[in-house]
Symmetry: C2
Subunit: 250 residues, 2 copies
């Protein structure tokens, strides 16, 4: 259940944020949103449910920090992670059309979300057209990215899918001005596999192969932290997976 009472007395605006260029755009956009909307801030923790499928839609959420997953659930009991969200992303668009949220949004880490009622947002957009542009851009990015996800799942073999997953995670962090040389996956192998349409064993094997090929490394303690010395090497690995098998020289 959600914390109905936001506990932050000490302003927990954690993120390192982009003091330099990387992540500046995200920071600027968040600043604009915060100033213009005066959203209700809330700190969430791992496992907290932001909203649930079927729940009445009324709010959108802007992520100031933390990592979140979007989980879809079918009537016949299939459950799947269909999206991952980071700082600067929005949650809740799926609820606009049907006036009920269509999936679950769950925190995978401690984070801060900004809640704004959709009605209030529209009112604010009427006054500040820039807000509308920001909103539409966020929705547009989500549509474009969802298509890329479908494409990865449909066209890449398992190993490449895992590599591409890591690459995208690292890119997302980079865009937001965060470190990418060592990332902490907030998901179990089972969750990653679920998201990528494969089993947890296949994820594990793929990661092992990536590590064996020195494309990634594992921190000494625990296999949840992944070292990515060179993001480009991940892209190269994906291409290698796609390349036709080397012609037999005989």
């Amino acid at each position: 259940m959600l914390n109905t009472v936001p506990p932050p007395k000490t302003a927990p605006v954690l993120p390192i944020a982009g003091n330099t260029c990387a992540g500046q755009q995200t920071a600027d956009t968040l600043k604009l949103l915060c100033e213009q909307l005066g959203p209700q801030r809330r700190v969430v923790h791992t496992g907290d449910v932001i909203y649930q499928a079927g729940e009445c839609f009324s709010n959108l959420y802007i992520l100031n920090s933390g990592f979140f997953k979007i989980v879809n659930l079918t009537a016949d009991g299939r459950e799947q992670v269909v999206g991952l969200k980071f700082r600067g992303d929005w949650l809740g668009f799926d609820g606009i059309a049907g006036s009920h949220y269509a999936c679950d949004a769950v925190a995978m880490d401690t984070g801060e979300i900004w809640m704004v009622s959709y009605e209030a947002l529209l009112a604010a957009c009427a006054v500040h057209p820039a807000l509308l542009q920001v909103l539409h851009s966020a929705m547009s990015r989500e549509i474009a990215h969802d298509r890329d996800s479908l494409m990865s799942v449909c066209t890449l073999p398992a190993d490449a899918r895992v590599a591409e997953f890591l690459r995208h995670w690292a890119d997302s962090l980079a865009e937001r001005g965060m470190r990418t040389d060592e990332i902490t996956l907030r998901m179990t192998r089972a969750e990653i596999g679920n998201y990528l349409g494969m089993t947890l064993e296949s994820v594990s094997r793929a990661l092992s192969r990536l590590a064996r090929d020195k494309v990634i490394g594992f921190a000494s303690k625990g296999r949840r932290d992944v070292q990515i010395p060179d993001v480009g090497a991940l892209s190269a690995f994906v291409q290698r997976c796609l390349a036709p098998p080397p012609a037999m020289l005989q």
Copy 2:
């Protein structure tokens, strides 16, 4: 387990859907859009490209009739159908964020599209808030549907994916007040397979099995027309694919 917090899961609430006449809602929305926007109308034919990846974004398109596919293309040459669009759907949302379209939109049939410049649309929305709601609903539906697609690809075996594809196509037609007992697929087996993440042979085999099980039928002439006597039978087939193999009675 995916959720650390087990909340009582309510079944996803279905959209309002069936009011009096099937397709009335789509028709009403189109009427509103046509009146308020005075869009430029254009008739397109099979193969016509509405917009292309990389092209400068400036227009959105509302589909009055016809069938369209959204095709994604990667730098390394992979090409995939990532969406199908029908009457009442919009094209071009993917271009808003990056000011360039992110994929190709291609007509699969003769149809009529309404073109409206994004700028003009925003101006009209400022005057008629109902337009903004329509726009957001369309984007929201697209986001929700893209997630459902990802879910189908990730969680369903090949046969079920084909059945689900037909079911969704039929449902889409029904929502728009069109016939569903006999539908004409505008795509080759190869395109369907590409969309569903499988080979054309697998699509063909799946369709043959569906026909053998009398879930679908083929019109006497040509195999492009599919008879769907009962859409519910398609759903049942999907469930049968998911059901565990019947316990051996020994």
